[in-house]
Assembly symmetry: C2
Homo-oligomer: 227 residues x 2
């Protein structure tokens, strides 16, 4: 019987935010894939190995999926990644694909999943704590209460997002566009807070838009709430 | 030194989706609060006790917060709940407040948190897996990819929500309004799937709006995605 591809969320950074299920399934299997050129250098691996030290001894498969905007380049690298994984599945080995946060929210796992499912293999997803939950916890703030909608916006790709919908906003990975994101937010009446590198040793919290540096890192998450 | 109030997310249903951190902090403390009239009968307790059997022997504090629409009644019951918790905090005992899913997303914990913080006590939040992540995992579907925004709508309170924003939608707890929610969704061109009681023994999945029963339960979560 062919192996199963597991998409496993390792959460946002703190190894203790991994689930019991993620830890068990990693322990039970021996082939570990991670997006990157060197598995041991990836953020996902560095998180998981602190909770599951046995990871060091497993077969580590780097899946090189560079972040490029060119659709055709993307497609090719996803295809190459999926082929690498399918080699193991065809040999009846499960593959554990580690991914930051949750595997269903802006995850590179989704791209691989579509190809591998289409090629007839079985996949399973193990949820992880999304970065925005951990950021809200770090700031001791709620994301949404009672009747408030909550809008999650991948601000890395666009900065002309609509801030007039009722409810609160999460802006993901706005680091590379921080100057224009801040401009956009200043025009709103929203309360802004931000966590950079949430749950990592270099975590920084900002509770005022004026304090947010223009050169904030890639893993910057903004919470924008109605007053 | 006064105790700390911990808001701990136990996740959506499967005890294995509890985090290592939630398990550790529950084990390390002895006073456990849960919204409800009988802690052992609450969904949050029933999930947590499967991962941490020691819970049976701890001091269990029911926080009666009935789901009422009257704002003044709500305020009173939140105040009573907070007072009950603060009695322990003042006696230098930590209180562990167990909550379904994540404590920052439509959680009863937020109401208690506001009062307890305002009264000068320290709170800490331990993230849990939100129900929508587990529902997407159960359906093997992504919630959002690449540039797609993701909108989370508490459909229990309103059914005239806007489905014309770009991106995908999660409708939370739409059970009690299912007939009108279905009517609203049928007018859209969105792909609909639903999970009822995700991660619980009575979990049911629906991948077509026509199959969703009008009398679906309270813990029904709808994922509506662009075609």
């Amino acid at each position: 019987m062919p192996g199963i591809l597991y998409g496993i969320g390792v959460g946002p950074g703190d190894p203790e935010l991994m689930t019991l299920k993620a830890v068990r399934i990693i322990k039970e299997n021996s082939v570990i894939a991670c997006p990157g050129t060197n598995v041991k250098e990836t953020t996902a691996f560095k998180i998981a190995v602190k909770a599951v030290p046995e990871l060091e001894e497993k077969e580590l498969v780097p899946i090189d999926m560079p972040m490029v905007m060119d659709k055709e380049e993307q497609r090719k690298s996803h295809k190459r990644g999926a082929e690498l994984i399918e080699k193991y599945l065809a040999e009846e080995q499960n593959v554990i694909f580690l991914t930051l946060g949750d595997p269903t929210i802006y995850s590179t796992f989704s791209y691989i999943q579509h190809i591998v499912e289409n090629d007839g293999y079985k996949i399973k997803i193990v949820s992880g704590i999304p970065s925005f939950c951990a950021a809200a916890a770090a700031l001791n703030t709620s994301l949404a209460e009672w009747t408030e909608p909550l809008h999650i916006i991948p601000a890395v790709h666009q900065t002309n997002f609509d801030l007039d919908m009722p409810g609160n906003y999460i802006l993901m990975k706005s680091g590379s566009k921080m100057v224009s994101v801040k401009e956009r937010l200043k025009k709103s009446s929203l309360n802004i807070s931000m966590v950079e590198n949430c749950g990592m040793p270099n975590e920084k919290k900002y509770e005022n838009i004026e304090d947010i540096p223009d050169d904030a890192g890639y893993f910057s998450l903004i919470i924008a709430k109605k007053q």
